[in-house]
Symmetry: C2
């Protein structure tokens, strides 16, 4: 468990984001135990309440569940786990398209720029 925090987004959002990424990449087993709030807070050097807020939202999203006062677990619902990745992509795409909607960019141009920047990006991270 290790997160590189930026100081632009709220901590609890970044924590959620991190878990979503792990789920999207299939790093979690259904039902897998995750660190307790306090444990996570210790690991990440954040306040337990911040961890609590992140977990609470994840619980509302159906990504994790908690029984009694046991440490929380990743949901056992494989359909939910599977849909996380797709939803992340969909949300990003819709946000993106929305942001350029007002200036009427034709699809062909959108695709062209995306291709170009995708390549440029992957080249950056490889080298």
């Amino acid at each position: 468990m290790n997160i590189k925090f930026n100081n632009r987004d709220p901590l609890y959002v970044q924590v959620i984001q991190h878990f979503k990424e792990q789920i999207a990449k299939g790093y979690f087993e259904p039902g897998q135990v995750i660190p307790s709030r306090r444990e996570l807070a210790n690991q990440l050097k954040i306040n337990p309440n911040t961890a609590q807020r992140a977990y609470k939202e994840m619980e509302e999203l159906g990504l994790i569940f908690t029984e009694g006062n046991m440490p929380s677990c990743i949901t056992k619902d494989k359909a939910v786990l599977k849909s996380v990745r797709e939803e992340m992509i969909t949300e990003s795409v819709e946000l993106f398209l929305n942001s350029i909607k007002s200036i009427n960019v034709p699809l062909s141009e959108v695709l062209e720029v995306v291709k170009k920047k995708y390549d440029a990006n992957s080249r950056e991270t490889e080298e």
Copy 2:
């Protein structure tokens, strides 16, 4: 001059956004006079300081210029005007790609979803 404000983004940001969109769509002539801070504030029912903040940033971006205490004008630099559209697109694309970078989405899938959502979006706005 008419802006539909949301109450999510700061007013001054939305004002800048509006001008950028107008520029990107070629609605402004180089050197064209724009409303004074107070005039704009009146029209949009916002505080003059909010208009000022927007204009100040646009000036820093080179989009407008001000001589003495004359009303500000759209820049005469056609290259700048022309690049606005491209930069808006580029920024959006990079933000987008960045947001999904961490979950390793192959280019083909990105393009596929963009196509699909683009169509869905334009259908929404037509009907």
